[in-house]
């Protein structure tokens, strides 16, 4: 623990003083000192990689007590001391250095009670598989209670990342080299510039090379070298922009003009990016709306049932995802995939229960169904609160859904939302197919057109009702599965979407799936376009008012059902 129980002010004051020193290494200014050290170390590591086999054994034989000492130095409370310890590790020519740094960075470097250092291979759960930090031999599982983590703070994280980056410049794996090149952008200083030039020449991978050239160019630009501008022109990376901005107040007019001209072109490209980004945000918000509303478009649009419990069906889907992840600990991805059918099933069953239990008694009394289903929604909410918990549940985002895809240095699209967007479109397509191509779809349309007639043609209307409602509810469940990746999984999840869903359906035109799609996406985009200048709340209000007015103009929405049936 950092601090013993709090004594009088004086003592703490002293400690606060040391706290001030803790922050030393995090100031970029002081990076140089240890980067220089790095470079020396690198030369060695490089040497190692040249004569791998031999030196490997040497490394094996390397004195573990020294290594132990290096790690011991990490096990102190003061962050500045840790910073120095990290430098020491870098300085040491120990080939295991990188692994240690990485483990430290991931918080997997642990200390056992008997003073040995181990690396936890997986630090989720209570029992962790560990291996010895020095010998690398597997030590089986250890209880997390017997291990003490070597804690770090943000400053050290930065230091570690840079350190690892420099090491990785010489890594065999191109992926690592790319990562390190990204990292070094804007981090290059005098000590690194020299060796970097050499590395660039030898670098086989074009992308890494380009990055490193830019990284170096930024440094050269800061040194007031005009040629550097050409190496940086067209790059959208924020650090490049920062570098140019810094140059703007240099005293070399030529340089300033060059920088300004370069900046202008960058700004131009950024504008475009900004627009694309907003559009993407809009579409992804829209896709959420569509997902939430599409089930309603079926139950409300096709069956004319006002299902106020729709939101809670969504909630059920989300909770199913959570339950799945509980069942399959450590495999959030798989759990998520399985949650898709499961969520559909759970919600669909709940839907059937609702239809059989309540709605069938309220045929032709839409307003009453509204009230009854609202009651159901209250019950479902409270049920979740009492049975599971009033607290939000943790739903983990699997690796392949977190992070984002970089289109260019300034524009990157978040993965989870992209997946949701795709998912929404797939669900939509599936529904359209069901309605257009399947027997069920045909019967559904028949029943909605003219119940009596459909009956007389031998369609079992009740069965169709059940199936339709189950379908709509199931889709709500799917929406829940998707939403669990974007927002809270809690008892109030449904409430936050029910009104929006109704808005989308009504706006799009009841009984028209395409209407729902267009309405959802367009509302999403409108909202996101408004948000930057109107603010989140106003944007929402404006959209609502817009819909209210729109309904006055076209009571039947964007794509109304035409014809005699719809008259009067």
């Amino acid at each position: 623990m950092r601090y013993p129980p709090m004594p009088g002010p004086a003592a703490v004051g002293a400690r606060a003083g040391s706290a001030a020193e803790d922050s030393e290494p995090m100031h970029a200014a002081t990076r140089g000192s240890w980067l220089m050290v790095l470079v020396l170390a690198l030369a060695f590591v490089l040497g190692l990689t040249l004569t791998a086999p031999v030196s490997a054994q040497e490394a094996e034989a390397a004195d573990d007590t020294a290594a132990q000492a290096l790690l011991e130095a990490l096990d102190v409370s003061s962050f500045s001391a840790k910073g120095e310890a990290i430098e020491a590790i870098v300085r040491s020519d120990d080939p295991r250095a990188r692994d240690w740094l990485q483990a430290l960075l991931d918080g997997r470097l642990q200390r056992t009670d008997d003073g040995r250092f181990v690396v936890a291979l997986d630090n989720s759960g209570r029992q962790w598989p560990v291996e010895d930090a020095l010998t690398g031999e597997a030590l089986g599982e250890m209880s997390r209670r017997d291990l003490e983590r070597i804690g770090i703070n943000n400053a050290l994280r930065n230091q570690l990342r840079s350190a690892i980056a420099v090491v990785d410049l010489y890594a065999a794996d191109v992926g690592l080299r790319r990562a390190s090149a990204e990292r070094l952008l804007g981090e290059v200083d005098g000590d690194l510039a020299g060796p970097l030039a050499k590395v660039i020449e030898e670098e086989p991978d074009a992308r890494v090379q380009e990055r490193l050239i830019q990284a170096l160019a930024i440094y050269r630009l800061e040194q007031g070298e005009f040629a550097a501008i050409d190496d940086l022109r067209g790059s959208l990376h924020p650090r490049v922009r920062v570098a140019f901005n810094r140059v703007l107040n240099s005293d070399d007019p030529a340089l300033v003009d060059g920088a300004r001209e370069a900046l202008n072109s960058i700004e131009q490209m950024l504008k475009v990016n900004r627009a694309v980004e907003t559009l993407y945000f809009g579409l992804s918000l829209g896709s959420v709306l569509v997902l939430a509303a599409i089930g309603l478009a079926i139950t409300f649009g096709v069956m004319g049932v006002i299902n106020m419990a729709h939101g809670e069906l969504i909630m059920l889907g989300a909770y199913t995802t959570w339950a799945m992840q509980q069942l399959l600990p450590g495999q959030p991805g798989l759990a998520l995939i399985l949650a898709i059918p499961a969520g559909f099933l759970v919600a669909a069953l709940a839907g059937i229960a609702i239809e059989r239990g309540v709605i069938q008694f309220l045929k032709g009394r839409p307003l009453e169904t509204l009230l009854a289903t609202f009651g159901i929604s209250l019950i479902l909410q409270q049920l979740v609160r009492t049975v599971i918990s009033p607290l939000n549940r943790t739903v983990i985002t699997p690796e392949w859904m977190s992070g984002s895809i970089a289109i260019n240095d300034a524009l990157s699209l978040t993965l989870n939302r992209m997946v949701v967007l795709g998912f929404a479109l797939v669900v939509f397509a599936a529904l359209v197919l069901i309605m257009r191509r399947t027997r069920l779809g045909l019967e559904v349309r028949a029943v909605t057109q003219n119940r009596a007639m459909a009956r007389s043609m031998g369609i079992r209307a009740t069965r169709v009702d059940i199936l339709t409602f189950a379908l709509g509810s199931g889709v709500a469940g799917l929406a829940g599965v998707a939403l669990s990746q974007l927002t809270n999984v809690g008892p109030n999840l449904g409430q936050n979407y029910i009104i929006d869903s109704f808005m989308v359906v009504v706006f799009g035109g009841v009984g028209n799936l395409w209407g729902t799609l267009v309405a959802g996406l367009s509302l999403g985009v409108i909202n996101q376009v408004l948000e930057p200048w109107a603010g989140a709340v106003m944007a929402k209000i404006i959209v609502l008012v817009f819909i209210i007015l729109f309904i006055q103009k076209r009571p039947r929405g964007l794509f109304p059902q035409k014809g005699r049936a719809a008259e009067g």
Binding site: L549, Q552, K553, K562, G563, R564, E567, G568
Partner: protein
């Protein structure tokens, strides 16, 4: 923006700005006049440049197979449906296409629906009271009082439609035939210049039919009556002039004998029945 426009046309907001309805002008002939009216739903032409003229005081029967556009025609006349093209004039002064249902109704065009629609939650008496021609703006309606004269008119109609002793019953519990009658009664209360009657005798017994026939023929002369009916027997019993609609336009027009001898009519419509009757 529609709201602005509607706000601009203030007469829709304030009653006192509504121009005083002038009486129907029938000096030059017809009371109802449809010209080249066309309306289509999703491409299907329900009415196909229909031309129709009803003279003042005339009793006209309109027949035609299902989907001939009879009901749609009524919808157009009463302002429920807007045609895609064509003219609809009431007398020579009022362009019906420029008006909404209440305005048209207050001009004196009454309509009886195919499916009898009465106010089931209200009593027979109240149904008639609401139908009665009166100042139908808000405040007059709110402060309206009952007086002898009104009662007499309602009683009179109650007698005519033979529901006098059911006056305090809720309309909802009336038999189908009684509802038909009540609806006709409501028409009478409106004192309309033109009655549009859609299948008045559906679900009526023989005697009820006869009385309906008497009633309608009795009305003719004072008021103009347009009857849409399937029941050929009934039509024969009342009809002077018959119009046959087919696929949204007039197929034939004339006396019952004329039209029933018209080969085209026989083919599209009467054919089947003629054989039955033989």
């Amino acid at each position: 923006m529609s709201i602005l426009r509607s706000l601009a046309s203030r007469d829709r907001v304030f009653d006192f700005l509504v121009p005083v309805e002038s009486p129907v002008d029938v000096r030059h002939g017809p009371i109802l006049y449809l010209e080249d009216v066309t309306v289509s739903f999703d491409g299907f032409k329900a009415i196909n440049d229909l031309n129709l003229t009803i003279d003042d005081g005339e009793l006209r029967c309109i027949i035609g197979p299902n989907g001939a556009g009879k009901t749609t025609m009524m919808d157009i006349i009463t302002g429920k449906t807007r045609p895609d093209s064509g003219k609809v004039w009431f007398g020579s002064r009022h362009d019906l296409l420029a008006m909404n249902e209440p305005q048209i109704a207050s001009l004196g065009i009454g309509r009886k629906f195919q499916k009898p629609t009465v106010f089931e939650a209200l009593t027979v008496f109240e149904n008639l009271e609401l139908a009665m021609a009166a100042d139908k703006r808000i405040l007059p309606t709110l402060t309206a009082r009952m007086n002898g004269e009104i009662r007499d008119r309602i009683d009179e109609v109650l007698k005519t439609i033979g529901l006098a002793e059911l006056r305090v019953r809720q309309a909802g519990i009336l038999s189908h035939g009684q509802k038909q009658w009540l609806e006709i009664g409501m028409l009478l209360m409106q004192r309309p210049r033109l009655l549009l009657v859609d299948e008045p005798v559906a679900g009526m017994t023989e005697q009820e039919m006869e009385r309906t026939a008497e009633l309608l023929t009795g009305l003719a002369g004072k008021q103009s009556v347009v009857v849409v009916e399937h029941d050929m027997g009934f039509v024969r019993s009342i009809a002077r002039k018959v119009t046959v609609l087919h696929q949204g336009s007039v197929l034939a027009e004339g006396s019952m004998d004329q039209v029933s001898s018209d080969p085209r009519v026989v083919e599209v419509y009467l054919g089947a029945e003629a054989e039955e009757e033989v």
